[in-house]
């Protein structure tokens, strides 16, 4: 019923493990205690408050109520000085434990393992235990006439750390207080003209506090404060760096509060104002890595401007109700942001290298979690090699020294590199290899005669590389028409741009069969289903499944072939040689996004498009021969890949196809075949019941069989 009041403030929120309760503070005098559905947190409507307490008329709760995680008691402060501690069983707030303090309290912070910490308005800090021993003890005033704006507490190892910001005459100061060591540091925040911080949030990692400030200039700035600071210098000035600009296509988000979700995402609550339009309140999630607005939700009923986040759920007031929204932050990767992620069936490609983290000891962690560390302070674009991999070799400790190799003779150079590659696996070895390839490619570019074909092939085959690690490799390979390398790259790189995929396809289709026959290409994807000998029409014997026998069906096939020669002739023989087929299979296997591939496909020359379609048609017919519609062999295309590419190609080239006379027959055959397949499957579904019944009857008859057989055991 309290939520029915229009004028309420949502002052604080404490959360108790593990039943997911929320302590809601409504107005200045009331407290309600409710809980939420774990699964359906939005529908608070059918929830009842579990507890409700109020202070006496005239008293005012002056700071957010928190829960002591160790004792499961609640701690409130009213009238600045009066501390109240109670638990669930207490009904009347007036009768619970009371302690009157000697100074005004700014906030009480509760830490999961550290117990509550009380921050006074004068900047003094006490743990609750110490305070309760002598409530009237003297509290020092540290900040004289500065005013505390925001505070937060963390656990660093075993000791509580308190951070708070103050303001005085437009200047902002940051205080870090380590309780156990009784050390206090004061910093001044770098000033910014015409703009001042509105809201703060902070997190701690690796002994570094990252303070994020939301400025009135609609930007989020990042400030790094190291915890290990022993020198008692006089006032240090903290410099800040821009993390995020809250503007998207002309409209600006006037943020009021914000929270950090993970390394790459922040959520901001505020009002979005486009020029000339009425501003509307909304909740937004931003990707700081790519500086993009990930998603937003309009909140037409208005909010209190406060946003909390706990266990992947947002809490805020929307109109008169407390709204809880679940969110999920996907791993932030460019592939996820702009295109298709590579099919999860190919497990051989798993690591992505992030250049920003190179040389950081955390690389192992980021590999495991597949997350990039964008919130990290150092954006190291210059790569320094201090890893032990390169140490044994003289003069290779810096990247440019690899470039020195460019003048060395090819064999000497390759020998050195081979030695390097045989060295123990290091966490950042991947990145080293990327550097090596980049250096090699640069040399190729400057010296057109130089092309270490075998060496490149070896690296690509043995290492889990990605396109973004060596972007020029495929371009050079395309230029050199090194189809084998391209094939391996297509098979192993998870992040090839569609443009390059298309370029590969075009090269593969245009290259002559005669040339290909001289070239070594990996044929494992085609060897199992293609008839290498063109004049050898004999059907290959394969493992026949589900009782289907090739010999029995032979008669039926014979008649079918004579009757429908025109139908089968197109799908029966492979229109391309095995080498070309293997290369095309590599293209079919690579990841792509339709939107980005389609414009390129439109440029494919008509003859090549028809050839490609003919090959896809051949694959489709081959697939349909088997009951399980899969082609045998390693890395052979799946029926879904074939169908997707066929549709894509037809979409891109349909007008051209319709005009071409030789494509016409192909299209009509394709149409007939697809129609026949659809009909076949619908018939199969129809007779399934009858088949089952027949099977049952058959087995009933079988069970009565009795036979005398001759058995010889040797």
């Amino acid at each position: 019923k309290y939520l029915g009041f229009l004028a309420f403030t949502f002052m604080g929120l404490g959360i108790r493990f593990p039943y997911f309760n929320i302590l809601i503070q409504i107005g200045c005098g009331y407290l309600a205690f409710a809980f939420c559905h774990e699964k359906n947190p939005k529908s608070v409507s059918d929830q009842k408050p579990l507890g409700c307490w109020s202070v006496k008329h005239g008293q005012i709760i002056t700071c957010p109520v928190v829960c002591n995680f160790e004792t499961h008691e609640y701690i409130a402060v009213h009238d600045d000085k009066v501390l109240r501690i109670w638990n669930n069983k207490d009904i009347n707030l007036d009768k619970v434990f009371k302690a009157t303090l000697s100074a005004d309290v700014y906030r009480v912070h509760s830490l999961p393992n550290g117990g509550p910490v009380v921050l006074f308005k004068g900047g003094g800090v006490r743990t609750l235990d110490v305070l309760l021993e002598a409530p009237q003890q003297e509290i020092e005033n540290i900040i004289s006439d500065e005013v505390i704006k925001w505070s937060e507490a963390f656990m660093e190892g075993q000791q509580p750390v308190l951070i708070f910001t103050t303001e005085k005459d437009g200047d902002f100061f940051v205080y870090i207080q380590k309780l156990k060591m009784n050390s206090l540091h004061r910093y001044k925040l770098e000033q910014q003209e015409l703009s001042k911080p509105l809201s703060f949030t902070a997190y701690i990692k690796n002994q570094i506090i990252t303070l994020l400030c939301l400025y009135s200039s609609d930007s989020v700035y990042k400030v790094l404060i190291p915890l290990q600071q022993n020198t008692e210098e006089e006032e240090q000035i903290l410099s800040k760096s821009l993390l995020l600009n809250l503007s998207v296509s002309g409209s600006v988000l006037k943020g009021t509060s914000f929270v950090v979700l993970d390394k790459d995402h922040v959520a901001v609550l505020g009002s979005l104002a486009a020029s000339g339009e009425e501003s509307k309140e909304c909740l937004t999630i931003w990707n700081t890595k790519f500086q993009t607005l990930q998603t937003s939700k309009e909140l037409p009923l208005g909010t209190s401007g406060q946003l909390w986040c706990y266990e992947e759920k947002f809490f805020f007031t929307h109109g008169k109700v407390l709204t809880v929204i679940m969110y999920k932050c996907e791993t932030s990767s460019l592939a996820a942001a702009v295109g298709k992620l590579k099919d999860s069936q190919t497990p051989d490609v798993s690591s992505y290298v992030n250049w920003n983290t190179l040389g950081d000891e955390e690389l192992v962690v980021s590999f495991q979690s597949q997350q990039s560390v964008a919130l990290k302070s150092e954006s190291k674009m210059t790569v320094s090699y201090n890893s032990t991999v390169l140490k044994p070799m003289p003069c290779t400790s810096e990247l440019h020294s690899i470039c020195c190799f460019q003048d060395a003779s090819t064999t000497a150079f390759e020998d050195e590199l081979r030695q390097l590659m045989s060295k123990a696996q290091m966490p950042d070895f991947q990145a080293t290899i990327g550097c090596v390839i980049t250096a090699l490619i640069n040399r190729c570019k400057t010296n057109p005669k130089y092309y270490p074909r075998n060496f490149l092939l070896q690296i690509v085959q043995t290492r889990d590389l990605s396109y973004s690690l060596c972007p020029d490799l495929m371009a050079v390979a395309l230029e050199k028409k090194d189809v084998h390398l391209l094939q391996i790259c297509l098979q192993r790189f998870p992040d090839i741009p569609e443009e390059i995929t298309y370029a590969c396809l075009k090269v593969f289709l245009s290259i002559s069969e005669a040339y290909l026959q001289r070239i070594d290409v990996n044929l494992e994807s085609v060897i199992c289903y293609i008839d290498i000998e063109f004049n050898n029409k004999e059907v290959k014997t394969e493992i026949v499944e589900n009782g289907f026998s090739a010999e029995l069906e032979q008669d039926i096939w014979d008649t079918k072939i004579t009757k429908e020669t025109h139908l089968t002739c197109d799908g029966e023989f492979c229109p391309v040689g095995p080498q070309k087929a293997a290369l095309l299979n590599a293209v079919l296997h690579s990841a792509y996004s339709e939107t980005f591939l389609l414009p390129h496909l439109k440029n494919l020359p008509a003859q090549q498009a028809v050839l490609f379609l003919r090959y896809l048609y051949y694959l489709y017919v081959k697939c349909s021969e088997k009951i399980n519609t899969t082609l045998p062999g390693i890395r052979s295309p799946t029926i879904n890949q074939i169908m997707d590419w066929m549709c894509l190609l037809l979409d891109a080239q349909f007008t051209v196809m319709v005009m071409l006379p030789d494509a016409k027959e192909l299209l009509s055959n394709l149409h007939k075949f697809v129609r026949a397949q659809v009909r076949f499957y619908s018939e199969l579904n129809k007779i399934e019941g009858s088949l089952r019944e027949l099977q049952r009857l058959n087995h009933q008859k079988d069970s009565q069989t009795y036979s005398i057989e001759v058995l010889e055991l040797i």
Binding site: P18, Y19, F35, H37, E38, K39, N40, Q47, E311, E312, Q368, S369, Y681, S682, L684, N685, E688, R692, Q695, R696, H699, Q700, D702, S703, Y706, S707, I708, E709, V710, L711, E712, L713, I714
Partner: protein
Amino acid sequence: VYNFAANYFQEKVIPGHETRSVEALCWAAGDRLFGAGLSGDITEYDLALLCVARSVDGCGGPIWSMAANSSGTQLAIGCEDGSVKLFQVVPGGIQFERNLDRRKGRILCLSWHPSDTHIAAGSIDFLRVFDVCSGNSQPERIMVNYHVLKVRRECIVWSIAFLSSGTVITSDSFGRVQFWDWQRGTLMESHTVSTSAVLSLAVSEKEDSIIVGTSTGATYQFQLLPVKMGSLEKRWVRTKPFQHHTHDVRAVAHSSTALISGGLDAQLVIRPLMEKMQKKGYDAALRKFTFPHRRLVSCARKARLLLFQFSQHLELWRLGSTDETGKDGEVLPLCRMPEHLVQLKSKGPEHIYCSCVSPCGSWVAYSTASRFHLYRVQYEGDGISIKKVPKVPKLLLPAYQLQFSSDSGSLFVASARGSVHVLQLLEPGGCKHLHTFRPPSGSPEAVYLLASSADGHWLAAVGGDWAIHIYDLKCFKHHCTVPTYSCAVTALAIHPVTNNLVIAYSDQQLFEFSIPEKQYTAWSRMVQNCGLHRVWLERDSPITHITFNPKNPSHILLHDIYMFCVLDKSLPLPDNSALLMNQSTLKQLPETARQRQLHAFKICKKFQPLLFADLLDENCLVMVERPIMDIKTQLPLPIQQKKFGT
């Protein structure tokens, strides 16, 4: 009762009863086994005598569920009338303690909180959580069909589990597995795993993993996993799906290393959890049990008859014959068809424990829990007459195994407490009790396997304690005991010529024990020294029958469900590098090359699943197959699932 330590051997079988369907089973007070069912009775089973020890009426109509508390001192039953009743497990029985607060609606499932203070009960459309002390439920009921109010279909809570954290897990007919906070009466998580009902549910001891079984035959594992690497917050995640059954999965269990499921398709599947396995090997293999681990067919060699034992009737068949011969693999034309001679229906609701036909074919005997029957069968030309032998001696029933002597002159009856009765069969149709053998040191367990020698001199008997006693039939005294081996005996037989006792154990070991010399034979010691072939030891179904070829004393004929084997003692044992199943290889080799490849195990896997195999005469074997499809056609149709197209 399967013994996991004895290589999953189906060690004890308690035959059923037509009116006592078993809906729930539980272990309580150590290793006491209780069952309850739609007859409304709670039954305690005697695991030594393999019969119902005592039975108490639950007084609440049909019982749908039963659960024992963690200490095994109390039983809770869920009844048709909606009541949950508590019984105290006391020495020598159970005692009614109290009723918990009753509401309408049958209680289909029950689960105790590990602290024994609360009981969760699932019913139709709701679940309840009772305080064991007060007997009340607070909140009174938690509706489970809350989110599907628009569909006016009743939601049956088929299975329930209570975790120590206070979470109640339910599985229901809407195909959902749901996690409840019972104190608040709120749903915490809901996972829809199937379009049809989720029938069964079991939680691992650590409460970090559950298995559910559905009516489509699929089972799913859920695991409590951190939402992120290293995170403290954990969620239930559906991890592994398995499809080992074709029909309803009625029961599931979660051991520390395996998921166990039992279905309406008569299969028990043990699926080891690979992550709990140290290495890939024998223990990590999937086990499937479809057939009982004992012999249900007996053969009258001389009369060429087969007696089939069904749960409530016997069938006697005469085998067909041929007068032609042929080459390996040929099917010969029959000159006489097999003939179904007689069907003997057991009276009353009890299922048959054991049955046997005498070698001459003129005697048939069977036993149920309370009755023993002996019939005299006479063949007059094509006709057959069957007469019940009146006034059979009053024996301690049930009989666990019956065995006629090879001259059909006497019948051995395996009985409780290690005893074996010897009955003398009298012409034209009578019998009298001759003697009762008892193990010298006594034994509480029933005898479950018997073997008699062809010369009528020896009788070997195995009891539930796995001790093999050999009795002298000539002077009716205990002859000796075979050295104990720590595994269950699955089959044994006495060689007709040498009087060597051949024993097969559930760990697939084979022993040969000379009865006259009271010691293991040289060959047996040689086998133990060399060790059997790895592939032989890794078979997962036990040898269920052993027989011999009198014309070739070095041959031992054995079979399990999947193979038939002639063990030729005159040939060398294969070592692990040799191919164990080498018959098809041998057949392709020329006569001269074969000699070097021969080894003792001549295995034929042509007949599967093999229920019975026996030697009729020198060159005639009878094999009884029981096709799985034949069993499946007798089952109700499984839930339809589309197979073709998309």
